[in-house]
Symmetry: C2
Subunit: 376 residues, 2 copies
Amino acid sequence: MISQSQDFEFELQSRQCRARAGIFHTPHGDIPTPIFAPVGTQATVKALTPAQLLEVDARLILSNTYHLYLRPGDQLIAELGGLHRFMNWSRPILTDSGGFQVFSLANNRKIDENGVTFRSHIDGSLHYLTPEKSIEIQQNLGADIIMAFDECADPYNLEYNRLALQRTHRWAERSLAAKTRPDQALFGIVQGGIFPELRLESAEFLRSLNFSGYAVGGLSVGETKDEMHKVLEAVDPILPESKPRYLMGVGTPLDLINGIQRGIDLFDCVLPTRLARHNSVFTRSGRLNLVNAGFSRDPLPIDENCQCYTCRNFSRAYLRHLIQAHEILSSTLLSIHNIFILLEIAREARQAILDGSFDTYANQFLNEYHPINEEE
Amino acid sequence: MISQSQDFEFELQSRQCRARAGIFHTPHGDIPTPIFAPVGTQATVKALTPAQLLEVDARLILSNTYHLYLRPGDQLIAELGGLHRFMNWSRPILTDSGGFQVFSLANNRKIDENGVTFRSHIDGSLHYLTPEKSIEIQQNLGADIIMAFDECADPYNLEYNRLALQRTHRWAERSLAAKTRPDQALFGIVQGGIFPELRLESAEFLRSLNFSGYAVGGLSVGETKDEMHKVLEAVDPILPESKPRYLMGVGTPLDLINGIQRGIDLFDCVLPTRLARHNSVFTRSGRLNLVNAGFSRDPLPIDENCQCYTCRNFSRAYLRHLIQAHEILSSTLLSIHNIFILLEIAREARQAILDGSFDTYANQFLNEYHPINEEE
């Protein structure tokens, strides 16, 4: 029997063309959408305290089932009161299904109809992940939003995507059937690589099941931006208006605007914190690498108009000094900025959609923004 | 001519036996004493933001002249408005003279009467540090409290200490003569190894010069606790009551109590942050290493009675998980706790001195505390 979760109403407040503004209600509070979710892979958003995440007003964070299952273990986290309490985060959490990580293990995993056998990247131990096991782990962790177990195929391989899609659909039904906790919302994941016809088929099939929300998975794995956009445009009219849509693993400033323009409500990505640890920051006009010697005496903040803690208090010269001196604080301060700017863009986009000015906002943003490479 | 600094009045509020409670007034605010100063070697207390230092109510931090001179350079910091502004710390700062670091370079330095030639640990470049140069650098940095340039000798070598002491005294006079900024307090440094008679001589000589405060240097470098205590007891009656006394490089909970009992007002040490990065924490009953597997399912905080951010919000199990997962956040959370407990002990000791109950407080503290090794 499919569990119903009345806690998880999605309130669509406004729509401008495809762009949507809404509120997703969860047991740990409301999530205003569009929203960006910082990633806390191992039950911590790298280099940040929960207090710092509250200060940037993060409303939802993501954590990884694969990593937490292996270390410290989902049962240990359940014993200690669940993931919210374990990591001291009282706002909503989303956990992925573990599928993406397991499929990334390449030579260290074997797929069968029932699930995936894989070796731990930590100690080489053998594990078997199935839809039922993934849901069990996610129920132990206790996130507000949990994900169906899916198969992530090479986005360009049509034959493999056809096969993988059928299995992903069977696994979606099994994930739904395995779920017992009423205080968690289960999202289905649309797959199908870069092939719009497969994406349509997947969105239609999943719509027929009673998920609390829908993710678009298997993107941001090497395809072009144009291919990604075509997929989003294909699934937008199929997915139900009354459920949130989540674009997995995507999150540069440009991706946010492009995704929101195509009907996406939730985003997550490791990029803001990973770039921070590699000395790189987002600004409204593109990316800066603060290692650049040109910043060594620069008294300006990363972005003069940014209101984050880092930009209100520290010069580029100081940040560059921290980087040169290999100080941990650079990761913290750059992560604060990179997460803040993505949250701020989502907040601005949301307000613009509510005001009916999103087109103007998006055009202005895109005009000012100069990505430095394909990844941007 | 010796500069007078009227900003730097030391108000002795209470004395119980040798223990003192006071207030040291500086241009960046009052320092209640006894006090512990966290160390921010490279213009950052490792793994902490200034906001986190304010939250533990740090009143004074230390930064290192040697490191900042080499990188990013004292002139660069001066151009950017001085060290307070550079690192965004508006409360008092103390800089050391660079002497200790230079003398620690062992084979990479050569001493003459005028100063010390040394090679940078960063790029091997050659530098020459003199009392005048040290004061010039410290004036560029702009800390509230600056230190005379001194020679740190092997504490057990009597002959070398006799020679080094005379040079340290000549350098003390030159440091005073070189100082021109009226908004900085210059402290003299008592040397003399483990030899009480040399320490007495040094304290008497320096007392005759008009320093704003007096440090006891060359300790915590391998001598026993008993030897350290004898030195403190020797200099206590010589140093003027009306000036603050600073025990350099010393700072475990036990050292604080023992130092306060012997008339010390200021302490600094890298230990709380260094231990944190090695997974070790201070508690009221000794030190814990959180790597211990016994903590893996432990729902308690580091110290149930501690009111720091870490203890109010995180279990030992979570902290151990962060350590096992090599997450930066463990350094941050453990540093917050270790600094907080030292600041808290200094606050408690101060209150006890003001209340006339310091003896009881110190005895109770020493009874409950179980150091795990000589270093503790």
